[in-house]
Symmetry: C2
DNA sequence: GTCGTATTTAACCCATAGGTTATTTAACCG
DNA sequence: CGGTTAAATAACCTATGGGTTAAATACGAC
Protein backbone atom coordinates (compact mmCIF):
# COMPACT_ATOMS: atom_id res chain seq x y z
CA UNK A 1 0.00 0.00 0.00
CA UNK A 2 1.71 3.07 -1.28
CA UNK A 3 1.67 6.14 0.89
CA UNK A 4 0.63 9.42 -0.59
CA UNK A 5 3.55 11.42 -1.94
CA UNK A 6 3.72 14.06 0.77
CA UNK A 7 3.70 11.45 3.49
CA UNK A 8 6.57 9.46 2.06
CA UNK A 9 8.49 12.64 1.33
CA UNK A 10 8.12 14.06 4.82
CA UNK A 11 8.94 10.67 6.28
CA UNK A 12 12.09 10.55 4.20
CA UNK A 13 13.07 14.00 5.43
CA UNK A 14 12.50 13.04 9.05
CA UNK A 15 15.92 11.50 9.40
CA UNK A 16 19.14 13.44 9.97
CA UNK A 17 21.25 10.99 7.99
CA UNK A 18 19.02 11.36 4.98
CA UNK A 19 18.98 15.15 5.28
CA UNK A 20 22.76 15.11 5.47
CA UNK A 21 22.86 13.00 2.34
CA UNK A 22 20.65 15.50 0.59
CA UNK A 23 22.87 18.33 1.77
CA UNK A 24 25.84 16.53 0.27
CA UNK A 25 23.98 15.97 -2.98
CA UNK A 26 23.15 19.65 -3.14
CA UNK A 27 26.87 20.07 -3.86
CA UNK A 28 26.64 17.77 -6.83
CA UNK A 29 25.93 14.22 -7.85
CA UNK A 30 28.07 11.47 -6.40
CA UNK A 31 28.39 7.76 -5.66
CA UNK A 32 27.07 5.67 -2.81
CA UNK A 33 30.59 5.08 -1.47
CA UNK A 34 31.25 8.79 -1.41
CA UNK A 35 27.93 9.46 0.29
CA UNK A 36 28.59 6.83 2.91
CA UNK A 37 31.98 8.14 3.99
CA UNK A 38 30.92 10.77 6.53
CA UNK A 39 28.73 8.33 8.41
CA UNK A 40 29.62 5.81 11.05
CA UNK A 41 27.24 3.33 9.57
CA UNK A 42 27.34 0.26 7.37
CA UNK A 43 26.96 0.52 3.64
CA UNK A 44 23.69 -1.40 3.53
CA UNK A 45 22.26 1.16 5.93
CA UNK A 46 23.18 3.94 3.51
CA UNK A 47 21.75 1.90 0.68
CA UNK A 48 18.46 1.69 2.52
CA UNK A 49 18.43 5.41 3.15
CA UNK A 50 19.01 6.04 -0.53
CA UNK A 51 16.16 3.75 -1.41
CA UNK A 52 13.90 5.71 0.91
CA UNK A 53 15.00 8.98 -0.63
CA UNK A 54 14.50 7.65 -4.12
CA UNK A 55 11.09 6.26 -3.31
CA UNK A 56 10.18 9.66 -1.89
CA UNK A 57 11.20 11.26 -5.14
CA UNK A 58 13.89 13.33 -3.50
CA UNK A 59 16.75 11.81 -5.45
CA UNK A 60 17.20 9.93 -8.68
CA UNK A 61 19.88 7.44 -9.55
CA UNK A 62 21.77 6.68 -12.71
CA UNK A 63 24.18 3.97 -13.68
CA UNK A 64 27.79 4.48 -14.56
CA UNK A 65 29.76 1.25 -14.69
CA UNK A 66 29.44 -0.22 -11.24
CA UNK A 67 28.54 3.10 -9.68
CA UNK A 68 25.07 4.39 -9.07
CA UNK A 69 25.43 8.15 -9.01
CA UNK A 70 22.78 9.93 -6.98
CA UNK A 71 21.45 13.39 -7.57
CA UNK A 72 18.78 15.67 -6.20
CA UNK A 73 15.38 15.30 -7.86
CA UNK A 74 13.39 18.51 -7.78
CA UNK A 75 9.75 17.45 -7.90
CA UNK A 76 9.20 16.36 -4.32
CA UNK A 77 11.01 19.36 -2.93
CA UNK A 78 8.71 21.52 -4.96
CA UNK A 79 5.69 19.71 -3.68
CA UNK A 80 6.76 20.17 -0.08
CA UNK A 81 7.28 23.85 -0.68
CA UNK A 82 3.87 24.05 -2.28
CA UNK A 83 2.29 22.49 0.76
CA UNK A 84 4.21 24.80 3.06
CA UNK A 85 2.84 27.70 1.07
CA UNK A 86 -0.56 27.09 2.59
CA UNK A 87 0.86 28.20 5.90
CA UNK A 88 3.27 30.87 4.78
CA UNK A 89 1.04 33.68 5.95
CA UNK A 90 1.52 32.49 9.52
CA UNK A 91 5.21 33.20 9.62
CA UNK A 92 6.25 35.31 6.67
CA UNK A 93 5.45 38.88 7.58
CA UNK A 94 6.09 40.21 4.15
CA UNK A 95 3.67 37.70 2.75
CA UNK A 96 0.91 39.59 4.49
CA UNK A 97 2.21 43.07 4.04
CA UNK A 98 4.06 44.12 1.00
CA UNK A 99 4.08 41.04 -1.05
CA UNK A 100 0.86 41.71 -2.84
CA UNK A 101 2.23 44.97 -4.11
CA UNK A 102 5.77 43.86 -4.56
CA UNK A 103 4.96 40.67 -6.32
CA UNK A 104 3.00 42.74 -8.77
CA UNK A 105 5.94 45.03 -9.29
CA UNK A 106 8.13 42.06 -9.70
CA UNK A 107 5.85 40.47 -12.23
CA UNK A 108 5.64 43.70 -14.12
CA UNK A 109 9.37 44.07 -14.14
CA UNK A 110 9.94 40.46 -15.02
CA UNK A 111 7.57 40.78 -17.90
CA UNK A 112 9.79 43.25 -19.66
CA UNK A 113 13.20 42.43 -18.29
CA UNK A 114 14.07 39.12 -19.95
CA UNK A 115 14.08 39.09 -23.73
CA UNK A 116 12.18 35.88 -24.12
CA UNK A 117 10.97 34.48 -20.91
CA UNK A 118 8.31 31.90 -21.15
CA UNK A 119 7.89 32.02 -17.45
CA UNK A 120 4.97 33.89 -16.04
CA UNK A 121 5.10 35.04 -12.51
CA UNK A 122 1.85 34.35 -10.88
CA UNK A 123 0.62 36.96 -8.54
CA UNK A 124 -1.42 35.72 -5.72
CA UNK A 125 -3.71 38.21 -4.16
CA UNK A 126 -4.16 37.36 -0.59
CA UNK A 127 -6.75 39.80 0.60
CA UNK A 128 -7.71 38.85 4.11
CA UNK A 129 -5.89 37.26 6.92
CA UNK A 130 -7.42 34.23 8.44
CA UNK A 131 -9.11 35.68 11.44
CA UNK A 132 -8.18 33.65 14.45
CA UNK A 133 -10.73 33.10 17.12
CA UNK A 134 -14.09 33.34 15.49
CA UNK B 1 17.18 11.60 23.84
CA UNK B 2 15.50 14.59 22.29
CA UNK B 3 15.49 14.68 18.54
CA UNK B 4 16.76 17.72 16.77
CA UNK B 5 14.01 20.16 15.84
CA UNK B 6 13.92 19.49 12.12
CA UNK B 7 13.68 15.78 12.66
CA UNK B 8 10.73 15.95 15.01
CA UNK B 9 9.06 18.52 12.80
CA UNK B 10 9.40 16.48 9.62
CA UNK B 11 8.32 13.39 11.51
CA UNK B 12 5.24 15.22 12.70
CA UNK B 13 4.44 16.27 9.16
CA UNK B 14 4.82 12.73 7.86
CA UNK B 15 1.29 11.77 8.78
CA UNK B 16 -1.80 12.63 6.75
CA UNK B 17 -3.99 12.96 9.82
CA UNK B 18 -1.66 15.50 11.33
CA UNK B 19 -1.38 17.42 8.09
CA UNK B 20 -5.17 17.48 7.88
CA UNK B 21 -5.30 18.83 11.41
CA UNK B 22 -2.87 21.56 10.46
CA UNK B 23 -4.94 22.37 7.39
CA UNK B 24 -7.98 22.73 9.61
CA UNK B 25 -6.07 24.94 12.00
CA UNK B 26 -4.98 27.15 9.15
CA UNK B 27 -8.63 28.19 9.07
CA UNK B 28 -8.49 29.30 12.68
CA UNK B 29 -7.96 28.01 16.16
CA UNK B 30 -10.33 25.39 17.49
CA UNK B 31 -10.91 22.68 20.08
CA UNK B 32 -9.81 19.07 20.18
CA UNK B 33 -13.40 17.85 19.78
CA UNK B 34 -13.81 19.96 16.69
CA UNK B 35 -10.52 18.77 15.28
CA UNK B 36 -11.43 15.15 15.88
CA UNK B 37 -14.79 15.25 14.08
CA UNK B 38 -13.62 14.63 10.51
CA UNK B 39 -11.64 11.55 11.48
CA UNK B 40 -12.76 7.99 11.99
CA UNK B 41 -10.49 7.64 14.94
CA UNK B 42 -10.71 7.64 18.69
CA UNK B 43 -10.22 10.82 20.67
CA UNK B 44 -7.08 9.61 22.40
CA UNK B 45 -5.56 9.03 18.98
CA UNK B 46 -6.22 12.67 18.10
CA UNK B 47 -4.86 13.70 21.45
CA UNK B 48 -1.66 11.87 20.66
CA UNK B 49 -1.41 13.50 17.28
CA UNK B 50 -1.83 16.90 18.88
CA UNK B 51 0.89 16.12 21.36
CA UNK B 52 3.21 15.23 18.50
CA UNK B 53 2.37 18.43 16.69
CA UNK B 54 2.88 20.46 19.82
CA UNK B 55 6.16 18.79 20.60
CA UNK B 56 7.28 19.54 17.05
CA UNK B 57 6.45 23.19 17.60
CA UNK B 58 3.85 23.20 14.85
CA UNK B 59 0.95 24.09 17.12
CA UNK B 60 0.44 25.66 20.50
CA UNK B 61 -2.38 25.09 22.91
CA UNK B 62 -4.23 27.35 25.31
CA UNK B 63 -6.76 26.74 27.98
CA UNK B 64 -10.33 27.98 27.94
CA UNK B 65 -12.49 26.33 30.58
CA UNK B 66 -12.45 22.65 29.71
CA UNK B 67 -11.33 23.25 26.15
CA UNK B 68 -7.77 23.28 24.92
CA UNK B 69 -7.86 25.45 21.82
CA UNK B 70 -5.13 24.64 19.32
CA UNK B 71 -3.57 27.03 16.89
CA UNK B 72 -0.78 27.07 14.34
CA UNK B 73 2.64 27.99 15.73
CA UNK B 74 4.83 29.64 13.13
CA UNK B 75 8.39 28.90 14.21
CA UNK B 76 8.76 25.32 13.03
CA UNK B 77 7.10 26.04 9.72
CA UNK B 78 9.60 28.79 9.22
CA UNK B 79 12.45 26.51 10.06
CA UNK B 80 11.30 23.93 7.55
CA UNK B 81 11.03 26.58 4.91
CA UNK B 82 14.50 27.76 5.77
CA UNK B 83 15.88 24.28 5.32
CA UNK B 84 14.04 23.87 2.04
CA UNK B 85 15.65 27.08 0.91
CA UNK B 86 18.97 25.27 0.62
CA UNK B 87 17.48 23.32 -2.25
CA UNK B 88 15.29 25.92 -3.84
CA UNK B 89 17.65 26.47 -6.72
CA UNK B 90 16.96 22.92 -7.86
CA UNK B 91 13.34 23.50 -8.60
CA UNK B 92 12.61 27.21 -8.61
CA UNK B 93 13.74 28.52 -11.95
CA UNK B 94 13.30 32.10 -11.00
CA UNK B 95 15.56 31.55 -8.05
CA UNK B 96 18.39 31.06 -10.47
CA UNK B 97 17.37 33.66 -12.95
CA UNK B 98 15.83 36.91 -11.98
CA UNK B 99 15.39 36.71 -8.31
CA UNK B 100 18.74 38.10 -7.36
CA UNK B 101 18.03 41.20 -9.34
CA UNK B 102 14.39 41.41 -8.47
CA UNK B 103 14.78 40.92 -4.78
CA UNK B 104 17.23 43.77 -4.82
CA UNK B 105 14.77 45.94 -6.65
CA UNK B 106 12.17 44.95 -4.16
CA UNK B 107 14.27 45.92 -1.18
CA UNK B 108 15.26 49.13 -2.84
CA UNK B 109 11.73 50.02 -3.73
CA UNK B 110 10.44 49.12 -0.33
CA UNK B 111 13.13 51.16 1.33
CA UNK B 112 11.94 54.37 -0.21
CA UNK B 113 8.27 53.56 -0.44
CA UNK B 114 7.41 54.94 2.97
CA UNK B 115 8.85 58.45 2.59
CA UNK B 116 8.67 59.52 6.14
CA UNK B 117 5.44 58.07 7.20
CA UNK B 118 6.54 56.85 10.53
CA UNK B 119 3.93 54.18 10.98
CA UNK B 120 4.02 52.64 7.57
CA UNK B 121 5.65 49.41 6.71
CA UNK B 122 8.88 48.14 8.02
CA UNK B 123 11.13 46.42 5.58
CA UNK B 124 13.91 44.22 6.59
CA UNK B 125 16.75 43.74 4.22
CA UNK B 126 16.60 40.17 3.23
CA UNK B 127 19.26 38.08 1.80
CA UNK B 128 18.23 37.01 -1.59
CA UNK B 129 15.53 34.51 -1.25
CA UNK B 130 13.29 33.55 -4.08
CA UNK B 131 9.75 32.79 -3.23
CA UNK B 132 7.81 32.81 -6.43
CA UNK B 133 5.54 29.91 -6.65
CA UNK B 134 4.25 28.65 -9.89
C1' DG C 1 35.72 -17.45 -17.51
C1' DT C 2 37.96 -15.33 -12.65
C1' DC C 3 38.98 -11.46 -9.71
C1' DG C 4 37.97 -6.94 -7.61
C1' DT C 5 35.07 -3.18 -6.58
C1' DA C 6 30.45 -1.03 -5.89
C1' DT C 7 26.03 -1.76 -4.47
C1' DT C 8 21.91 -4.30 -3.25
C1' DT C 9 19.30 -7.98 -1.00
C1' DA C 10 18.24 -11.22 2.79
C1' DA C 11 17.51 -12.34 7.42
C1' DC C 12 17.36 -10.74 11.64
C1' DC C 13 16.90 -7.54 16.12
C1' DC C 14 14.96 -3.99 18.81
C1' DA C 15 12.73 0.49 19.54
C1' DT C 16 9.10 3.26 18.50
C1' DA C 17 4.79 5.06 16.04
C1' DG C 18 0.02 4.78 15.60
C1' DG C 19 -3.92 2.76 16.88
C1' DT C 20 -7.18 0.63 20.50
C1' DT C 21 -10.17 0.56 25.18
C1' DA C 22 -10.48 1.76 29.93
C1' DT C 23 -9.50 5.01 33.35
C1' DT C 24 -8.39 9.59 35.19
C1' DT C 25 -8.03 14.49 35.45
C1' DA C 26 -9.97 19.19 34.74
C1' DA C 27 -13.45 22.40 34.51
C1' DC C 28 -18.24 23.97 34.30
C1' DC C 29 -23.18 23.62 36.09
C1' DG C 30 -27.19 22.82 39.01
C1' DC D 1 -21.84 18.06 46.59
C1' DG D 2 -22.88 15.02 42.19
C1' DG D 3 -23.25 15.01 37.21
C1' DT D 4 -21.67 16.10 32.56
C1' DT D 5 -18.48 17.35 29.12
C1' DA D 6 -13.56 17.92 27.35
C1' DA D 7 -9.26 16.12 27.19
C1' DA D 8 -5.24 13.50 28.70
C1' DT D 9 -3.09 9.28 30.49
C1' DA D 10 -2.32 4.26 31.08
C1' DA D 11 -1.79 -0.16 29.36
C1' DC D 12 -1.66 -2.72 25.59
C1' DC D 13 -1.05 -4.61 20.61
C1' DT D 14 1.02 -4.75 16.07
C1' DA D 15 3.47 -2.92 12.12
C1' DT D 16 7.24 -0.57 10.56
C1' DG D 17 11.85 1.82 10.61
C1' DG D 18 16.61 1.94 11.23
C1' DG D 19 20.34 -0.61 12.23
C1' DT D 20 23.25 -5.02 11.96
C1' DT D 21 26.04 -9.04 9.37
C1' DA D 22 26.38 -12.21 5.65
C1' DA D 23 25.43 -13.28 1.02
C1' DA D 24 24.20 -12.03 -3.71
C1' DT D 25 24.38 -9.18 -7.76
C1' DA D 26 26.31 -5.99 -11.42
C1' DC D 27 29.91 -4.34 -13.89
C1' DG D 28 34.79 -3.61 -15.55
C1' DA D 29 39.40 -5.41 -15.91
C1' DC D 30 42.30 -9.16 -16.96
Amino acid sequence: MPLDPLTSTFAALADPTRRAILARLALGETSVMELAKPFDMSLPAISKHLKVLEHAGLISRGREAQWRPCRIAPASFKQVDGWLGNFRRFWDESFNRLDGLLEEMKAEEAAKAPPHTTRKVRVKKEKQRGRTRG
